[in-house]
Amino acid sequence: MTTATLSPTLPSKAALFEARAVKAGARRNRLLSLPALIIIGIFGVLPLLIICVYSFLVAAPYGGVQWQFSTDAYLNFLFQRDIFDDTLQFTPDFLIIYLRSFLFAVVTTVICLLLGFPTAYFMATRPPAQRNWWVLLITIPFWSNLLVRTLAIMFIIRDEGLINNALMALGVIDKPITMLYTNFAIQLGLLYAFLPFMVLPLYSSLEKLDFRLIEAAYDLYATRRQVLWRVIIPLSRPGIIAGCLLVFIPALGAYVTPLILGGGVHLMIGDLIAQQFGSGRNWPLGCAQALILMAAVLVALYFYVRNTSGKVQHG
């Protein structure tokens, strides 16, 4: 790492001095990173360990845990123990909720990407003075609470909401279209909540794009579509990856949006886990579900990064 270790045959004074300086620098860097490490340790790693431990315990009847080792929480994820003969029966209820959440998250990511890319491109191609205003506009939703904004959506799409009232007043429909408490409502809410998280990383990637490369591609007989696929998209890959991660992962664990707009009927992972700590009174199961979600995301990430990292390097 240091110059001295790289060239052990030439321990010149300068090299030794440099090695010492590098060592001192490393020590200083460690010291500076200490606050961050403490925060991550106390508020990140420690709770994770607690969750891990709790997932292997037995649920106490009124919430909390009994200190007794058990893998029931994990077994309960896929199986149900028969009350009479104690056999395990496969019950895919939780799995279905997981798969549905996964589907919601994928659809959210894809639609956010399709909507976000042209938006980000538009922003990145404005004159520099204008761009900051567009960024400001994109961040406006962050200024108010997600809960409030989600409730606002509820008022827009409910049976006596803005859309239905307007359509009925115009005579387009006779009776209101049910939108609230449907999968559509959840999907709409997720898209609304996560679109800015897609646009911003895409924008920061596209803003750095050298537009002379686009001219060069046109000059070399590339049509507009070829320029998009061969130059713009490959070069904005880091932004696409960042945006997809920033949308997919939180969307998978979304809690407030599906709870309010799905009306508790169409559960997603977030609601399911929350339930175990609330009305379900099964903390170990909630912990196990959270860890299974985390493991699934990590595995997916591992394959995603392995497949794309080589191409990102030079983008």
Binding site: E215, A216, A217, Y218, L220, Y221, T223, R225, L235, H314
Partner: protein
């Protein structure tokens, strides 16, 4: 986008061109006929590769309007190394971008082998550009960069590979074909940019100050390299530069531009020896300006009297009628010093001597006042006379050395 997808550019094939360089691998497939949809096929023999007719380009709107090009007309011949020379902001790059198709003229036509290409997008013009910044694709290798144009033209894979190999050899980059463009030096990037632009065999190659980012030695090397490439490929080169030396040494013809206008078009010798305007004389090479009065004139030659009452015969450009007070231009190397002030056409005091290795510049403060007059003297092993600062000297002019120019 619709049009773009349907009608593709055909390969800008040079019909009777042998394969580039010494690599005769037989990649010269005949041009594909029939697949041309709204594409120019410049087959008819015309002397001019590019003809720019009354082109105007205005940027901005309303009161902020700026005419980057003010009704420019110029003809560029086939197989010519043509240079657009001028200071920054003179419109030379704008003209290049209009020919490439990145911008569209406000008025006028641009003809490529007799056909108007002004309304065509860049990907439908058999014209390629070498960019000042090279604009190499950072996510592709050297070979992928060079093959990009051919790939976009839908050439078969085997042909692309052969052609890329040929181009790599032409620019001597075979060793580095698998490298990323970020892993090679500036000079190498320059070569890749050239190879990439030459690979589709364009009718015209546009070069936008391609050497400006290179250091002096590399630039000299690339100047020779560019001349060689132009000679070997037989492609018309349109070269944009603000470096007058570069323009003089490389070009077949030069167009000197200023403030959106072309002031003079001619061979380097024409431009240097017979500048049409004061700006041209001033911009290209070093020039002395002298004040005088026209006393008589015949077609092409005027007799001009200096304040010292000495007279000199001076040529003037066509279409210009010098009268009264005029400015004469004399190149520093077209004048000589004489030790006896009385023997010179004009006289003065030697104020400064600057040694340049190959030659020496003598700065003379003229007796009549005005700017210092510079005499350039080529150094040799045996200089007959040595001068000292402060000495009184005379200045003699070679025949045809002085010219009267429009201000």
């Amino acid at each position: 986008m619709g049009i773009a997808l349907e009608s593709r550019v055909t390969a800008p094939q040079l019909p009777s061109q042998p394969a580039y360089g010494d690599n005769q691998t037989g990649t010269n497939l005949p041009p594909r006929a029939g697949s041309l949809n709204g594409v120019i096929v410049p087959e008819q023999p015309g002397k001019n590769a590019i003809e720019v007719r009354g082109v105007r380009k205005v940027f901005g709107t309303g009161e902020n309007q700026v005419a980057a090009l003010d009704t420019v007309s110029v003809s560029i011949r086939e197989n010519e190394f043509f240079t657009l020379l001028g200071p920054s902001g003179c419109g030379k790059t704008t003209l290049l971008r209009l020919i490439a198709g990145f911008d569209f003229p406000t008025a006028g036509e641009i003809l490529l082998h007799g056909q108007d290409i002004a309304p065509l997008p860049p990907f439908k013009r058999p014209v390629n550009t070498v960019f000042q910044s090279y604009a190499l694709f950072p996510h592709m290798t050297v070979a992928e960069n060079i093959g990009f144009g051919l790939e976009m033209l839908g050439k078969p894979k085997a042909e692309i590979e052969a052609r890329v190999a040929q181009m790599l050899k032409l620019v001597k980059m075979e060793q580095l074909k698998a490298r990323r463009t970020s892993q090679i030096s500036g000079g190498q990037q320059q070569r890749v940019a050239l190879a990439r632009a030459l690979a589709p065999q364009p009718k015209v190659l546009l070069l936008d100050e391609p050497l400006s980012a290179l250091d002096y030695k590399l630039r000299k090397e690339m100047q020779i390299e560019l001349k060689r490439l132009q000679h070997e490929t037989g492609i018309t080169f349109i070269f944009v530069t603000h470096d007058q030396e570069e323009a003089l040494t490389m070009s077949d013809r030069i167009a000197v531009m200023s403030a959106g206008k072309i002031l003079q078009v001619g061979t380097p010798r024409d431009i240097y020896d017979r500048p049409a305007e004061r700006f041209v004389a001033d911009f290209i090479g070093e020039t002395n300006f002298l004040a005088g009065t026209v006393v008589s004139k015949k077609p092409g030659v005027a007799t001009v009297k200096f304040a010292s009452n000495a007279t000199i015969a001076a040529g003037y450009p066509e279409g210009f009628d010098p009268t009264g007070e005029v400015t004469l231009v004399v190149r520093p190397e077209h004048a000589d010093l004489v030790p006896d002030p009385a023997k010179g056409t004009i006289a003065g005091t030697l104020s400064n001597i600057v040694y340049f290795g190959t030659d020496t510049h003598y700065h003379v403060k003229l007796d009549g006042g005005g700017e210092n007059f510079i005499v350039r003297h080529q150094n040799s092993r045996s200089s007959p006379v040595t001068y000292e600062t402060g000495a009184k000297v005379g200045i003699q002019f070679e025949e045809d050395a002085a010219r009267v120019l429009k201000d």
